[in-house]
Symmetry: C2
Subunit: 415 residues, 2 copies
Amino acid sequence: MSQFLKVRSAKQVMEILQRLEPLSEEAVRLEKACGRVLAVPVTASEPVPPFPRAIMDGFAVRAKDTFGASESLPALLEVAGEVVMGQPAVVSVTEGRAVAIPTGGMLPAGADAVIMVEYTSPLDETSIEVTRPVAPGENVLGAGDDMKEGEAVFPEGWRLRPQDLGVLAALGITSVRVHRQPRVAILSTGDEVVPASIQSLPPGKIRDINTYTLAAELEQAGALVGETLLVKDDPHELVSRCRRCLEDHDVLVLSGGSSVGMRDFTVRILEGFEDAELLAHGVAVRPGKPTILATVGGKLFWGLPGQPVSALMICRTFVVPSIRILQNHCKGLRGDGGQTCTARLIRKIPSASGRTDLFPVVLRPEGATLRAEPVFGKSAMISTLGQADGYIVIPEDAEGLDGDTEVTVHLFTSS
Amino acid sequence: MSQFLKVRSAKQVMEILQRLEPLSEEAVRLEKACGRVLAVPVTASEPVPPFPRAIMDGFAVRAKDTFGASESLPALLEVAGEVVMGQPAVVSVTEGRAVAIPTGGMLPAGADAVIMVEYTSPLDETSIEVTRPVAPGENVLGAGDDMKEGEAVFPEGWRLRPQDLGVLAALGITSVRVHRQPRVAILSTGDEVVPASIQSLPPGKIRDINTYTLAAELEQAGALVGETLLVKDDPHELVSRCRRCLEDHDVLVLSGGSSVGMRDFTVRILEGFEDAELLAHGVAVRPGKPTILATVGGKLFWGLPGQPVSALMICRTFVVPSIRILQNHCKGLRGDGGQTCTARLIRKIPSASGRTDLFPVVLRPEGATLRAEPVFGKSAMISTLGQADGYIVIPEDAEGLDGDTEVTVHLFTSS
């Protein structure tokens, strides 16, 4: 085993972590897949929607039959029938004819637009007046407008968020290939540490904090926390406990005993393993300097400071990213998730006063900052959310947002 | 039932939600309490730490015995013994004497400071030279310095984060009173909607998206998702299914059928319940205008648009906060969680170049923005993290942060 002290910068530790091999793959049911990381890219096997759909209540028409229509000179159309929700459109639209259609209904053959019911008025039982023209494609979501057949939907390494499950559901994918979640064992040691349940503390003793905080933080990050143990600060006992935990866990987090002082137990424990490789012995981070990173037979071994604040900060800074990296999570905006951020909006977003608008955006790096690009697209497209990194809230008293302004982006994250 | 259309602003919907009664209380084990909301305030029943502790390796001394000590004129102290980690300090410190002590060790009687081992050198078997003075209290965490007996630790309505479990563990609290997590039933309807598992879509049909996205989003927000059902778009069937779900769930989320059009099924369903009260029929939010909020016999009833993007955005904007409010979550910084934000740092934070510093901060409203107040305190105090709303990362190439600068705060959240 490499013996000399290897103090690493935060950047170096992250570089070491980036070289870890991801865990094996498994299949999970879609309803259990939120937060999991795709082991294979996903491609659309069919167009979504599979057929053109109305996105407003109204009448399916040939757009050109409405050209020139106005309040004063309405177009007259014969109502040839009705599209029933969820049924194939049986009546086709021919010149001078319209077919009633609900939002979501299948556009009949011959129609290329939907005129909203608000711009029509019934003339008699079988005909309507149209008071406004529609353009071809207006109020219609064409076949494949949301996702085209063969289109790349998510890359390998994508961590699934709630809306991503919707994208997969739309494609009929109800089982996904993902990387296994790391099984983590958490060991806390120290002669002064007693179980938290001890009500009357003996002199010199304090209660265990780290098994609680580290387990909660790592579960939140997507780890499967297995053993959580309080172990006597004895090298033989620790080596034996660690050995057992390494058998059926992918990551071992040992807190306590790792300060470079008279009780450098963690390194002594590592010396008990033939196949241990010390990757970092100390990190240039405060708090948390006496952090140890090693591998033992391909498993990850973290030695965290016993001091609870340092242990938790290092857990969040390094151990949480390692949990993501072991699942091959690589396409997220940031390793640690995050639910809001500041970005520069690159173009004006119009919005009517009197309502709150929620606008999806894609975030792109721009030097050291981020720019937010509005995702334009019909709001019926689930893929707009699949693409978006987050959304902007335009409050009801604002009339849109100007381009080149700083905005708060609510991020779509999965944890 | 109130019948007329009640379109509400986003603010009004939030005000209605704030008036909801929280669910009943229950006890949970500490290791299962992350993300749960305290039903009672927590007070420290004892001081933490319970005894003064060394926070550096060195020697417990009387500070005044070191006054005037320097490299050229060291103080000479007799080593009277050693504090063993986790044991009561048996040797006391008297004038001219020192006791060896490890980080975390119990300070012996008579000592009021710890001189770091780096500023001492052994003279012979039983005496040391001290080359620097220490002030009273230096390198010592006094009894109750982290938490004082009787001190308010968390208010009622506090949502527990990983570090908060540590604060409770330190106090010996291994079972906590929290509000029940809402049990949520998710019903998706629409004649055009078929299960996502259907591989070959019949014409006019699309696959169910909403049960997947809404369930994932609400589980992430701390709800217990029970039934998730795809129901035929038939008023009798829907009333009967809703009635059954309302029996053993606290919240019902029905998506589809709520547009103010020819199929305003959701309101017709509510008409099927004698004890329904319509609170919002439409919201001034885009997307998601055709949203319905009602109570049925004290249970919460959400009617979301069938359109998946609108349904998910409204879920995140309103249903997620309602899940928090039903647990009486009221003390968080923001209702929806969030992992980073921008704030104005109110004072300079010094930091040495060459290491990454992580600095906890409290966030306070300042007009429409936030100011970040550094939490000063010894880093051994778990309560500093209990108080903090987040932390600032000072990168290793920076020499601290100036006051009155904008900073990114990484928030401590529990979801």
